[in-house]
């Protein structure tokens, strides 16, 4: 480990201590954009240092510079007192700098052990020492307190467990500096807790952790210090004990929380949809109504049955019992097609897997649900196609080179706008938004919430699924709490406290008889 380094240079605002990695004027320019303006920042050995900022604030650029994926434009990086080039990923890894990415980049068809040692296999006489590797991997996994078999196929594990393996993998290669890039985006709460335990353990072992997340509650739960980036500019660093969410949000976007959760009051109209004691795969006995001008929030942990409930409403899966009423009449929704014909629209949870055709143009994605309507005599009306696409791109302020650009070329927030925007021309009556703001920056969040108001003002109803309590708490007129496939509580707007709702969603121990609405 480093000896106490003396700073001769104008150092960032922190008292001298064990600085493991220091950035001095680190800067990155692309042709046309200044992705990262000169940053002075020091990371201390053994701290958990959160970095927050909107999409496009420069977080990814910073990670890429630190892991040697891209060369910097100018500035110095001082590692344990010595300037380093960080020109290649290999150099970064050799120093002990590693990263765990949001999406697991491992081989699903290999075993856990094979993945743990991928690239550094235990080989003797040219032969893999498989048994030894499984044994070693199992030991590491057990040491970390994960209850996972090292001989299992990685693909048989949940995404969350895979993420844990990816993190464990980083720990076996002498890592001193570990970057987590939104690691919990796809984790359940339990898995996230295991990951947090792992992170704390690494910290106790003296590893420096950079933790990047959109989720404020995680930052406050884990981090010692937090740095804020905005538009490629380093805004500042705070000790976590001396700041709060409101301040961080203000630093990130120059706006207050009230301005983000924008809620207009609309008259509640007649019932659009009613589910009566609906049961299906992953949920049972759920009853609720959605009315015109109403946001119905579904809160609960990931895996509590909320997504299953709405995808069943939407005809993706078959219900096992119960009835659905649309406009007061019983309906049988057997496919997505039926649901869409009634007037339902679903913006699914995963943009990448369910929401978008990434390698097709923005315009095609935006028009996909309405091609039938804009076709005349079998042919698509090109004028209509253009008009609808341009209208959404302008109206939602989708940042794109144009409607012909591929959806994959857009940032996450703008992709999410397409997922939502494709339904706006469809004239749907009931909109289902499943985690619409995951991985979306605060500015785009605010735009999406304003869009909700527009929909409500046109007499639509909204089902909003979120695992982020403030979101449903501030927006939903009616808030249903799900736990283990059951609807366990219902609240009006601000009629219960955060703590009560959290308890209802968590309460693993108090097993009440099921089925109470």
């Amino acid at each position: 480990m480093t000896s106490a380094t003396q700073h001769q240079h104008p150092a960032p605002e922190l008292e001298p201590g064990k600085v493991i990695l220091e950035l001095r004027g680190l800067e990155k320019k692309y042709p046309g954009t200044h992705a990262l303006k000169p940053v002075n920042l020091a990371f201390r050995a053994g701290e958990i240092h959160a970095i927050v900022g909107e999409n496009g604030a420069g977080k990814s650029t910073l990670i890429k510079l630190l892991t040697g994926v891209m060369p910097r434009t100018s500035g110095d990086v001082i590692w344990e007192g010595e300037p380093v080039a960080l020109a290649t990923p290999h150099e970064a890894m050799a120093l002990g700098i590693n990263a765990v990415h949001q999406e697991v980049v491992l081989c699903r068809h290999l075993t856990v052990a094979a993945n743990m040692f991928l690239g550094e296999e235990n080989v003797r006489y040219g032969l893999l020492q498989q048994r030894a590797m499984v044994r070693d991997a199992q030991k590491i996994i057990n040491d970390l307190g994960f209850n996972l078999p090292a001989h299992a196929m990685l693909g048989d594990l949940t995404i969350g467990q895979q993420q844990l393996i990816a993190a464990a993998r980083a720990t076996v290669r002498g890592t001193k500096f570990l970057i987590f890039d939104e690691p919990t985006a796809y984790l359940t709460r339990k898995e996230a807790d295991q990951l947090f335990a792992l992170i704390r353990r690494l910290k106790a072992d003296g590893v420096t952790i950079i933790y990047i997340s959109h989720r404020m509650e995680e930052v406050f739960e884990l981090a010692d210090r937090v740095s804020v980036l905005r538009d490629g500019t380093y805004v500042g660093t705070r000790n976590i004990k001396e700041t709060d969410e409101a301040e961080l949000v203000r630093l990130m976007i120059n706006r207050t929380i009230e301005q983000i959760y924008h809620k207009d009051e609309f008259p509640i109209g007649k019932t659009i949809l009613e589910a009566r004691q609906l049961s299906g795969k992953g949920f049972e006995n759920v009853s609720m109504t959605v009315r015109e001008g109403e946001i119905v929030g579904l809160y609960g942990l990931i895996g509590a049955g909320r997504s299953e409930f709405v995808t069943t409403l939407y005809g993706r899966h078959a219900k096992s019992s119960g009835t659905v009423l649309w406009d007061g009449k019983e309906v049988h929704i057997r496919s997505e097609h039926d649901a869409i014909k009634l007037g339902m629209a679903l913006a699914p949870e995963s943009r990448r897997d369910q929401g978008l055709c990434l390698n097709l143009p923005v315009g095609l994605n935006l028009n996909l649900p309405i091609y039938k309507r804009i076709s005349k005599n079998l042919l698509i009306s090109g004028g209509e196609e253009t008009k609808h696409a341009e209208q959404q791109i302008a109206g939602l302020r989708i940042k794109t080179a144009g409607r012909h650009a591929l959806a994959s070329s857009l940032s996450g927030g703008n992709q999410q706008k397409i997922v939502i925007g494709k339904w706006l021309n469809h004239g749907a009556k009931l909109f289902i938004f499943d985690e619409p703001t995951v991985g979306v920056d605060v500015g785009t969040k605010a735009e999406i919430y304003r869009l909700f108001s527009t929909l409500l003002s046109q007499g639509a109803g909204i089902i909003l699924i979120s695992s982020y309590l403030p979101e449903v708490y501030e927006l939903a007129d009616t808030l249903h709490v799900f736990r283990r496939g059951k609807l366990v509580a219902t609240h009006g707007f601000h009629t219960a406290s955060h703590e009560d709702i959290l308890t209802q969603a968590l309460a693993e121990k108090q097993e009440k008889p099921g089925g109470q609405p």
Partner: protein
């Protein structure tokens, strides 16, 4: 329809058009080179012959492209062609009117396509497997039906068709236009075409957007089967016999034409004019090699090398243009 009516796809179309142009340029270049290096290439006779040679693969490639755009593959088309020559021959010889025989053969192609759709959608089989199974079993069924013999077609008018021409262009090439124009409109100007692309790009996203994914898959394989059966009819007319072992390896030529024409085997990228040009480039290479007296064994090698070169350079250009 005016070009202004469909600007939604403009840069993509311009790009496609550009790509079509470079393929066209390649084709023209080959023709110019062959005209200079051989005396027999630039004769009306040879050009007609070349158009006939390329036409059937071109039609197969169009159907194949629909399937590949959805992210699938249809290995059965060669076998369907062979089988269709048999049914055409048998039905004509049984005394049915020619158009009825053709119609029934086309319906058989549709049925084979529906079967593929069923295997993929309902049985969950990979397209490669279900169409491979058809490839081998359809040849077997054809052999069983004919006892391994060729069936001569007793209808001169039917055979005359493939040899004839209309306003100086071989009838077989007119058939390419007959298939190509509706196929182009279908792929680029109807919603079904858009659905093919969306299913190939992300079937789940398409489904959640209200696209009937199953029907789209059925449609792609049905069209491919239909194109193949149609080619079978044309081949029967050209060779005057029904023989289930005909068109050996044509599925690979169709796939190669499609890929040379810019279709991505990963799905969601493809056109109609690309595969057509691809098919005639392949036909020109074979025709030219014949005229230049290149050893027939070497022709196969050259074709293979050219496929690699063309697709590699296309990939380079695409990456460069991003």
């Amino acid at each position: 329809m005016s070009t202004e009516a469909i600007p939604a796809e403009k840069p993509k179309r311009n790009y496609n058009a550009l790509f079509g142009l470079t393929l066209l340029a390649l084709l023209v270049l080959l023709w110019v080179l062959l005209s200079f290096s051989t005396s027999s290439f630039a004769t009306a006779n040879n050009i007609s012959n070349l158009l006939r040679q390329g036409s059937m693969i071109a039609i197969l490639a169009v159907g194949q492209t629909f399937v590949i755009i959805t992210g699938g593959i249809d290995l059965s088309v060669g076998a369907v062609v062979g089988f269709a020559t048999v049914t055409t021959a048998m039905l004509i010889n049984s005394g049915l009117p020619v158009f009825v025989a053709i119609l029934i053969t086309l319906l058989i192609g549709v049925a084979i396509g529906l079967f593929h759709g069923f295997g993929i959608v309902k049985m969950g089989l990979p397209p490669f497997i279900i169409t491979l199974a058809t490839l081998t079993s359809l040849r077997g069924i054809g052999l069983l039906m004919t006892n391994g013999n060729s069936i001569s077609i007793n209808n001169d008018a039917f055979q005359e068709f493939s040899r004839g021409s209309f306003v100086g262009v071989p009838n077989l090439f007119w058939m390419v236009i007959l298939v190509g124009v509706p196929a182009y409109i279908f792929l680029h100007h109807t919603r079904w075409g858009r659905y093919l692309f969306s299913v190939g790009s992300n079937a789940e996203a398409a489904r959640l957007s209200g696209v009937n994914v199953q029907r789209t898959i059925y449609m792609a394989y049905t069209l491919s089967g239909l194109c193949a059966a149609f080619v079978g009819v044309l081949l029967a007319s050209r060779i005057g016999i029904g023989n289930p072992t005909q068109a050996e390896g044509w599925e690979l030529q169709a796939i190669a034409s499609s890929v040379i024409g810019g279709t991505s085997l990963f799905g969601a990228v493809g056109s109609v004019h690309g595969p057509l040009l691809g098919a005639f480039i392949l036909a020109t290479i074979n025709n030219g090699a014949n005229l230049l007296n290149v050893n027939a064994f070497w022709q196969r090698v050259i074709t293979g090398v050219l496929i690699i070169v063309i697709v590699y350079f296309d990939g380079l250009r695409r990456r460069g243009s991003k």
